[in-house]
């Protein structure tokens, strides 16, 4: 069973030999390098992995775009694709030059700093969102014009909700 894996942006190819899905002693090929591992899921999402050079514990937190995996205090963003499936197209790219500015966290819009039609510089504050007693300024990713301002002062926003669009 072959997997295309994107690790912190770098593409790797993992092939598992034998019955996939069984833990325990595994044989595999990473890119063209063969190897063996002894793998146990000791807690949900926590893997104890014995490799020739050491004992590793990998903690997996699945996310929408892939998994976040922590090993020995180092965090890896890992996206796995089973090549038998069609490659995902990914989320539709923003229309040329048009950037969606989303709230990075749930919170309350306490101030809207610019209006639709305003010209903004890269890094200029657009909206202030308050969460956990902290006011967080959400900035423009680029210089341009505010083509849409969705944020309304005093309302609550969820994580990922669009605050504004800059073109």
């Amino acid at each position: 069973m072959k997997f295309e894996v994107l690790v912190n942006g770098r593409r790797r190819l993992l092939e598992l030999n034998g019955a996939a899905g069984d833990l325990g002693s595994l044989e595999f090929t990473l890119d063209s390098e063969p190897g063996t591992a002894d793998v146990v899921e000791v807690e949900p999402g926590v893997y104890s992995i014995l490799l020739p050079g050491g004992s590793y514990e990998a903690k997996v937190t699945p996310g929408p775009e892939g998994s976040s995996v922590e090993v020995r205090g180092v965090r890896y963003e890992v996206a796995v694709r089973d090549p038998r499936r069609l490659p995902r197209t990914g989320s539709a790219p923003a229309s040329a030059g048009r950037h969606r500015v989303a709230s990075p966290m749930p919170g309350k819009v306490v101030r809207v700093l610019v209006h639709e039609g305003d010209e903004v510089a890269a890094g200029q504050g657009l909206v202030v969102v308050e969460a956990m007693k902290m006011q967080n300024e959400i900035r423009s990713p680029k210089a341009g014009r505010v083509v849409a301002m969705r944020a309304v002062e005093g309302t609550t926003v969820t994580a990922g909700e669009t605050l504004a669009e800059v073109e």
Partner: protein
């Protein structure tokens, strides 16, 4: 037993801390909670719990009337304010007194005095406590601010005359930036405290923040418990504290000098119960009174580790009128303690808050490791409150060993579902500046502004482990596989199955 029942006017880890102290003293506890905190650990652990309003703090934890009503309805004899919320509001001790409740903290007068930067400053000057050159300025008087700033010389600091915690604080490097900073600070101060008065002071370049813990009883006996180094700050918020201060460790005479000054400051304010006198220390080791925190500090565990004094229990005994259990000469400092504040925030994304549901939570354990936390697996960190979810404080016989222990404990600490600053601390602990104790209040932001240290040297097996785990975790057939695996291949299980087949 000083009291039979205490109400804790707080939430999260500090409410849990106070509940534990009360439980050990045989005192029943009453928790209060907002609608967002029904499942809070403090509600679970208290003997009683009372709902005091909706999620926003202004409608619950900041509602004096509801706190007092809850205390009276539950038959509590005393109120512990924790830190934050109403803890430095003199109206709380006043309301307690009127309601016949004991407030576990200083008197309203001392609180009020220290709550006003200008009055506190005057009192300190009169008592011979060194202060940073500065003065207060009315909300609208930009010209007066300009004159004062010119007198001290730039850089200067502009901040709210009321309140604390860095709210409305701005550093001004040049005269031409003063007007804008003045307006912003005044408006922020007005919003936060209902008072736009400002305070303008000389800005010390790369000072250390070192504070002294004091304890005073209601019979005029005041002692100090030594210092805490709190120079690691981000946006004027402490993130890591330690005792001893590396500077004081290198210059032991500083502890007695600063301690005696802090005791003098507390006496001048007529202070009793636990309090903290904060100093800025310049590069010539001159120290200046910054402010007095008239409550228990977040970072009190490092002092508890090193002195062996339980500050919360002492607070309760003092409030009950008992004399201090310690003389100054009995306070001894052993080893070194370091505390990290674990926040629900994302260091990789501008430290934005990260409330949400905790999916997995492994706390560190073992010798010299203390965790104070209000979090548990499955709990949802509410959006409405401070992002502090836990404090990790370690002790060892010296600073180097304590840092090594903290490093290991951070590696054991695992939180999934929300982002935390655990990984950030691991990187901070590895900086030579921190290891060598060469820190000041500007260090952390300077370090963060520099290029981040490169990722750890390529460790192919570490990455391989991550890849294997991600791939295996994604296989749908493997649901609940961990149960099988964790059982190992114990002979008993195999035998057990066999015996069923007979």
């Amino acid at each position: 037993m000083p009291f039979r029942k205490i109400l804790i006017a707080n939430r999260g880890e500090i409410a849990v801390r106070v509940i534990r102290a009360c439980r050990e003293m045989g005192i029943a506890t009453v928790a209060v909670y907002s609608e967002a905190d029904r499942a809070g650990l403090h509600v679970r652990m208290a003997d009683e719990a009372r709902l005091i309003g909706p999620a926003p703090a202004a409608e619950s934890y900041l509602r004096l009337d509801k706190i007092v009503a809850a205390a009276q309805a539950s038959g509590a004899e005393a109120v512990h304010p924790g830190y934050g919320f109403l803890s430095e509001n003199p109206a709380l001790p006043r309301a307690c007194e009127e309601a016949g409740l004991v407030f576990i903290g200083p008197g309203a007068e001392a609180m009020e005095l220290m709550g006003s930067k200008t009055r506190a400053r005057q009192t300190m000057l009169a008592a011979g406590v060194p202060v940073v050159p500065g003065s207060s300025v009315a909300a609208a008087d930009l010209e007066a601010a300009r004159a004062e700033a010119a007198r001290f010389g730039y850089p200067v600091l502009v901040k709210a005359a009321a309140g604390g915690g860095g709210k409305g604080m701005r550093r001004v490097e040049r005269e031409e930036d003063l007007a804008a900073a003045f307006r912003e600070a005044a408006s922020e101060a007005e919003r936060a405290f209902g008072d736009g008065s400002l305070y303008i002071e000389k800005y010390l370049v790369q000072p250390r923040h070192i504070e002294i813990q004091v304890l005073g009883d209601r019979h005029g006996h005041v002692i100090h418990l030594g210092e805490r180094e709190c120079s690691l700050q981000r946006r004027h918020q402490k993130v890591l504290e330690e005792c001893p201060s590396p500077l004081v460790a290198a210059h032991p005479e500083m502890r007695a000098a600063m301690g005696e000054t802090a005791v003098r400051a507390a006496r001048a304010a007529g202070y009793y119960n636990a309090g903290t006198v904060e100093f800025l220390v310049d590069q010539d080791r001159r120290f200046y009174f910054l402010e007095m925190n008239t409550r228990l500090q977040v970072e009190h565990p490092v002092t508890e580790w090193v002195t062996g004094v339980d500050l919360v229990k002492e607070q309760i005994r003092i409030a009950a009128g008992e004399p201090l259990a310690y003389q100054q000469a009995e306070i001894e400092w052993r080893g070194a303690a370091v505390e990290c504040r674990i926040y629900a925030e994302d260091p990789d994304n501008n430290f934005f808050p990260s409330p949400g549901k905790i999916l997995a939570l492994d706390r560190p354990a073992g010798p010299g490791v203390r965790v104070d936390s209000g979090a548990y697996p499955g709990w949802t960190v509410p959006l409405e409150y401070d992002p502090l979810i836990a404090k990790l404080a370690v002790w060892a016989s010296n600073r180097e060993a304590a840092i090594a222990r903290l490093r290991g404990a951070l590696e054991e600490y695992y939180v999934s579902g929300i982002k935390t600053n655990l990984g950030f601390f691991r990187r901070v602990l590895d900086t030579p500046e921190f290891r060598e104790g060469r820190v000041d209040t500007t260090f952390l932001e300077r370090w963060m502004a520099e290029a981040r240290p490169a990722d750890p040297p390529e460790a192919p097996e570490v990455e391989l482990a991550a890849i294997l785990a991600a791939v295996l975790h994604g296989l749908p057939a493997r649901a609940n596989n961990h149960e099988r695996a964790a059982e190992g291949s114990s002979a008993w299980k195999l035998e057990g199955r066999r015996s069923l087949l007979r």
